[in-house]
Symmetry: C2
Subunit: 199 residues, 2 copies
């Protein structure tokens, strides 16, 4: 049934294709856009095309960027000898928000997942090896996600890089700050115990 006419229906369908947008949300977005001034619809439409056409992978860290190398890799004040390996540009952004890491990043664009057909060649590992050779990296901090795929990827990278004589570290597992011990799972509690530090 097509009570709205083809154009509105097509817009609703396009929104429905986006992740996390169901039928009702897509309808709401479509009507919102139709009720906005033309300039606002043009701004959104243009931002979509502009980003899609001009965003590339940084040739150094493989993160997404519109200037190559990206703002982080081209920042001379960052420590070029420490590289943090993350799965996704959003993880990079999360660590940047901490304002607590001044090294460089390397974005894998995924994690090893044989079940989903993601093997080592699907990740940016060749690029990582190339950097380590070229940049004289001293420490590789592995900050993949703390789940099965992330841990397997961390182990794989460790075995790959350690023989090159580079220090390889993994971000700590433990109880999240602000959390409530009662609600923390057993594995995390055990890891927090193992990783205890003098105080």
């Amino acid at each position: 049934m097509n009570v709205y006419g083809n154009r509105i229906t097509r817009l609703i369908e396009e929104f429905t294709k986006l992740p996390g947008i169901g039928g009702k949300s897509a309808q709401r977005l479509a009507f919102y856009i139709i009720n906005q001034p033309l300039a606002k619809a043009e701004a959104l439409s243009d931002a979509i095309l502009d980003a899609k056409r001009n965003v590339v992978h940084c040739s150094v860290c493989c993160s997404l960027t519109d200037s190559d190398p990206c703002v982080i890799c081209s920042n001379e004040s960052r420590n070029r000898h420490v590289i943090m390996v993350v799965e996704d540009p959003r993880d990079l952004a999360a660590y940047e928000r901490t304002n607590n890491f001044k090294g460089l990043y390397h974005v894998l664009h995924g994690a090893l997942s044989p079940m989903n057909g993601v093997g080592p060649n699907d990740l940016k590992l060749k690029e990582l090896l190339g950097r380590i050779d070229k940049d004289g990296a001293q420490e590789l901090i592995i900050a993949t996600n703390p789940n099965v795929e992330g841990e397997a990827t961390a182990m794989y990278i460790r075995n790959l890089i350690k023989p090159l004589g580079v220090k390889v570290t993994r971000i700590a597992h433990g109880v999240p700050v602000g959390g409530d011990l009662e609600y923390v799972d057993e594995v995390t509690l055990s890891r927090a115990l193992e990783g205890r530090r003098d105080m």
Copy 2:
């Protein structure tokens, strides 16, 4: 902080302006689009502009449409003497999905809400009066939302239209089908009792 570069940040900001899309969702949408083939981004971008540029209010029922009059108003098999008044095109679509109403619609584009500065002149009431004169309407079914604004609007329209000798009805209030009496609020239960019918 702008770790993604201007283009991605701009796209994220444009998405954040949409209703119901927060920062995290906007980021997810932006990365999704960047990882899609160009053709898909173009399809979305084009659907936005196309809908915004070509969708108009139907000159008869004031619903949104890309062909004027809309598919419902130009359908000769519909009963032109019964008009259902709704607040929004989505309410029209909801009733169309029932497949149970064969008259025409009139879309007000809102409901009276003095608190939010919405008065009678902000609704499509002049257009409604014009249609009743011209089309020989026999019954006006008021299907505004069952909340304070919707009820006030229903009452306002009733007082406006009834003196013209047109039958004015309101959709029934009662317990929703499939609901559980225990969870239905007192006002609805009272209305369901008042509106009881012989069986």
